[in-house]
Each structure stands twice: as C-alpha cells, then as structure tokens.
C-alpha cells in the first residue's frame, strides 16, 4: 500500500469508511508529516490533538454503525484566517498574536461537522495581503518546490501560502484557503495543486478575519478537482450570520462531475494575452485550449475590454475596505495593546497599530484611508466602483457567447523569496489574471497544467458564470484528465 500521506480527500474518506485503515492511523501519519516539515514553516500552530480527537470520533462512529460525514476521517489544514474556538487565530499578524476566539467560524464548524479534523493553523500573508507569503509576522513559508539544480527558497504564492505548501508537500491532504484577489488560485498554481474560489456568497464569511468584505470568499485547496468538489460541498451553504450569504441549496458537485464538454463553449479572453507574459505560460494556455477541444468543447475568442483596469480598481477597492475593516484593531477589545508611558487613548491606538501591523498592511490601510478621504472619494473610490461595474458587465456579455472562460492563473511561475518584496507594484501584478473574476464575484479555479523548463508547476484558470461551480469543476476535470499532472516536489525538508 502507498503511504497514507499520499492519499487525497476522497481516498482517505473511502478508505476509512471501507475499513482499509482507521481514521486514527491517517491522523497519526499526517501529524507526523506535519511535525517533520517544520522547515516549510507552513503552520503557525499545530493541533495534533484536534486531528486525533476527530479521528477517534470517526472510528467510534464507524464501529457503532453510525453514518459517517462527507469528510469523515480526513485531517485538514486550516488557514489561520478562520476563527477556531480555543485555538490561536492570528491572520499571521502580531496584533492578533495570542488571540484565542471564543467562537468557531461557520466554515470551519461545517468542516468539523462533516467529520474533518484539524492538523493546525496554516501560515499566510498578514491579513491575507500579499502574493508570496512574505508579509507574515510568523516568517516566510517555503514552497516545497525548487527549481531544477537550485536550492533557492521559492514563494508558495499568497496569501494562502501555508495551505498551498502543506498540500503540495503531502503534509495535509487538503486545506482551506480564502481568495480576495487570487489568494486561492495563485498559490495553487505556484505549487501544482487545485483550488476553487466559489461564487461570492457561497461560503459564509462569518468568523473569517475580514480583509475586503465585498471580495473575500473561502474555498478548498487540494490535489484533485474531485477532492475540491467534495470539500466545497462541506464548506458552502447559507448562513444567516453573513448578510451576503447566498440563500441557495448546495449542489452535489462531486456526484455530478462530468469531463465531457460536448456542447459547451469555452471563451478565450483575448485581453489576457498581455505583453510580457512568459512564453511558457502562453504555451500552457494553448495546451489547455487543445485539451478542452479534445473534451468536446467549442473554443471561441471573446473580449473582456476592461481587463487592464481590473488590477488598479482592485488596489483602490480592497485597501478601502481593508482600512475600514482593520479599524477594529484598537488595543481595547482583543489582541495587542501598546501603552507608552503617559499615553492617552489616541496615542494608545496609534502605538498599538504601529507595533501590531506589518509594512504591507500599513501601506494598504494608508492607501485605503486616502482614497476614502473627503475630496478624493469620488476621484478614486467611486471611479473604481464604476470601473468594477464595467468589468462585471464585460463578463456578463461574455456569458452570452460562452459557458466558461479559460486563461492562465498567473503571469509567471513561482519566484524566489525576496525577489519582489521591495517592489509592491511588481508583487501586485501577480494577480493580474485572477483579480477580474474576484471583482465580478465569479467562481474560478486553478488546475495544474504542467511544469515549465525549470521544473516548476504552472496553473490554468477556469472562470464560470455566477453559481456555476459545476461548469468550472467540469472544465477543470477535463484539464486534469488530459494534463496528466503527476509531478511532486522532491522531499528536502
């Protein structure tokens, strides 16, 4: 038998249900893998006891002949942006260091209710702001991948960089991510795994540390499209505690997976063919087009004319929302307090926030404060919200011609840690292909397409209509079946 840690979500669930191995054996194997991978710095805290307790409950339920949940026996990694009762929740920030929520996020609770256990809280970019996991207060995450012939540490992507690194390294079969402008898809692409951001509102935002509330969406990251579908079924669903939660039934996406795309039309957005895009990325895009044709789809050229404005609009809207959301960190109710000698209340706020936030977080709070300030609000924020409406309209017009869109996930493969950390704008450009779907609230996923000449993974992105996660997953499955992506990082940690 292969090692338990090589198994994905479905294989573990079915193996436990069928008695091939116990949930306890699975939890112990992954706990050991996590403990042995400290060099990746993927976890901020580990919770082996949580994984074992969930496994024990699953084994006891099975022994008692009780029905098992959709994720029974599957230990997962939890991005440290989800509030977990009694377990430190930091958003990778100093200001929340030591914060132990008295409540559980809706999404994590749903995962535990489905029988999953928690291996630990995964590292991320601070407050999910970053594309390389280099803004975490708790240190960089290293991608398990390395360029052929090099030992340089590479970025696992961000902001869900702990999630992507853990799943790619086989120290977790799956993990939660959150995606505001690409934070599930870009790290998935960088590490050769799959990840889906569902339609805005599918997964409750209740108990997720807020970054930009009109964009934030949770989703699964795993090593197959089917595993993503299974996990998303457990995470999604209406929640009255989130005012933007979709009051819709959750489809059985995994049961309806179908890679036959006969009769489907796939749009290729011509504006995504940007100057300076890596030739190997363009080649993988062409491969993807050929695979979807092979799956029976008709491929057509479409135009999304406002694409180039998506990223600048995002870098007004997201910081504006962040500056408002992060106003809650005041040193009064929870988290860090800095109280210099003789300080008054205002001094305490300013000192606490100066000590508690990292540079990128401060940069975005300042930009957000500026674009929302009197005199500049219309020129920046209102203009960006109008451009956002045009970007959403571009997609709506595309859906008159096609069922899904195919594009690269990222403009390049992973880069070395440190390469872009001094140039915020260069870092922001990582999300050029992922941000438009976020601004329009659309379901979108990244699926591994192959390796580049350096031996690093490249991802393809499928974007779908609102609520059509099924169409996205089906096209993703068609790519997965034809890409035959079996590469995995060689263990060095």
């Amino acid at each position: 038998m292969s090692e338990l840690t090589d198994l994905g979500v479905k294989a573990i669930r079915d193996g436990v249900a069928g008695g091939e191995f116990s949930a306890r054996e699975v939890a112990e194997a992954f706990n050991a893998a996590v403990a042995g991978a400290a060099q990746l710095n993927a976890f901020i805290v580990t919770t082996p006891e949580h994984a074992l307790a969930a496994a024990h409950a699953t084994d006891a339920a099975r022994a008692g002949g009780k029905p098992l949940g959709k994720l029974a026996g599957v230990p997962i990694g939890m991005k440290d942006l989800f509030a977990t009762r009694g377990v430190q929740t930091t958003a990778a920030s100093h200001i929340l260091e030591g914060f132990k929520p008295e409540y559980e996020s809706t999404v994590s609770q749903k995962l535990w209710d489905a029988g999953a256990g928690m291996l630990g809280k995964l590292n991320l970019d601070q407050f999910a702001m970053g594309s390389s996991n280099e803004t975490s207060y708790f240190g960089n995450v290293s991608s398990p991948w390395r360029k052929a012939g090099s030992n340089a540490a590479l970025a696992p992507g961000g902001s869900s960089g702990g999630s992507s690194a853990a799943v790619a390294a086989r120290i977790a079969p799956a993990a939660t991510g959150t995606d505001t402008g690409g934070s599930i898809r870009q790290p998935a692409a960088f590490t050769g795994i799959s990840g889906i951001k569902p339609t805005y509102g599918r997964c409750s935002r209740w108990g997720i540390v807020a970054f930009a509330s009109s964009l934030d969406q949770a989703g699964p990251m795993a090593r197959s499209v089917e595993d993503c579908a299974i996990m998303l079924e457990a995470m999604a669903g209406f929640d009255p505690k989130d005012s933007t939660s979709l009051d819709m039934a959750v489809p059985e996406w995994s049961a309806s997976l179908d890679a036959n795309l006969t009769g489907k039309r796939v749009g290729i957005p011509r504006e995504y063919r940007m100057d300076g895009t890596d030739a190997e990325i363009l080649k993988s895009w062409d491969d993807g087009i050929a695979w979807l044709k092979d799956a029976g789809a008709e491929v057509i050229d479409v135009s999304l004319p406002h694409t180039q404005y998506a990223l600048p609009a995002y870098y007004i809207i997201a910081p504006a929302e962040a500056s408002s959301n992060l106003a809650r960190y005041d040193g009064v109710r929870y988290g860090l307090r800095e109280l210099p000698q003789g300080a008054n209340l205002q001094d305490m706020y300013a000192a606490t926030r100066a000590a508690g936030f990292g540079d990128e977080v401060k940069r975005r709070i300042l930009i957000g404060t500026y674009v929302l300030s009197a005199g500049f609000y219309d020129a920046y924020y209102t203009q960006a919200q109008k451009v956002r409406a045009l970007i959403a309209r571009d997609f709506a017009e595309a859906w008159a011609q096609c069922d899904v869109l195919l594009a690269p996930t990222t403009p390049t493969a992973s880069f070395a840690l440190g390469d872009k950390v001094d140039d915020p704008l260069a870092m922001y450009l990582n999300d050029v292909f992922s941000v438009p779907a976020s601004l329009a609230g659309l379901p979108a996923m990244s699926v591994p397409a192959g390796l580049n000449g350096d031996g690093l993974p490249l991802g393809l992105q499928v974007i779908g209509r609102p609520f059509d996660e099924q169409g996205v997953l089906n096209a993703g499955l068609a790519i997965e079946q034809r890409a035959g992506f079996v590469a995995r990082p060689e263990k060095w940690w």
Partner: protein, 100 residues
C-alpha cells in the same frame, strides 16, 4: 496627483498609525508610485455607469426582532466577550483616562 510627506503624515494620523520620520520617508515614494499607477482608471469612460454596490444582487434580510435571536451573538456572555481583552477591569474594557 502626488502627495507630500505632510499629507502622508496626516493620512497616517487619520488611520491611527504612528509613523516615525524614517517610516514616512520610506512611505511617500511608495504611496506616490501606487497612486500614479491607479490613476490610469481616470481614462475609463464611465458615463452613465452606476458604481457597483453588490457583486451578486441580493436584498438585505431582516431577522425576527427578538432578544438573543442568535444566542452566540446575543447578550449574557460578558466573560466570553472580555476573554481576549488586553486590560479588562471590573467586567469592562479598560482604557487609559479619556478626560482631563
């Protein structure tokens, strides 16, 4: 439009983030680079376009007007609310003196 050091200092003060001189010096060019880049949005013709307010059209729901409709976020959980406070006092959030 480019901003000067005084403007960035004012924004930092509005955002309640203390910044020393060296930090402000570093932030000004970064801030201006980002502003110069987002200003390309001014090129877009937005005549007759309403700013987006909701990405997926939805009506806000109302819940029944009852006490503790959700016990978790209702009342009577003072200890839980204060559990993570850095300086709770006598069952309240403690803050530095706010009156002279």
């Amino acid at each position: 439009m480019s901003v000067d050091r005084k403007t960035v200092a004012k924004i930092a003060s509005l955002a309640r983030i203390r910044m020393d001189e060296a930090e402000l010096d570093r932030m000004v060019p970064e801030f201006n680079a980002i502003l110069a880049w987002v200003e390309q949005l001014g090129e877009v013709d937005v005549t007759g376009v309403a700013p987006m307010t909701a990405v997926i059209p939805q009506a806000l729901r109302l819940r029944d007007d009852v006490v503790d409709a959700d016990p978790l976020t209702g009342g009577g959980v003072r200890d839980a609310v204060l559990a993570n406070a850095p300086a709770p006092e006598h069952g309240f959030f403690g803050v530095p003196k706010v009156i002279e």
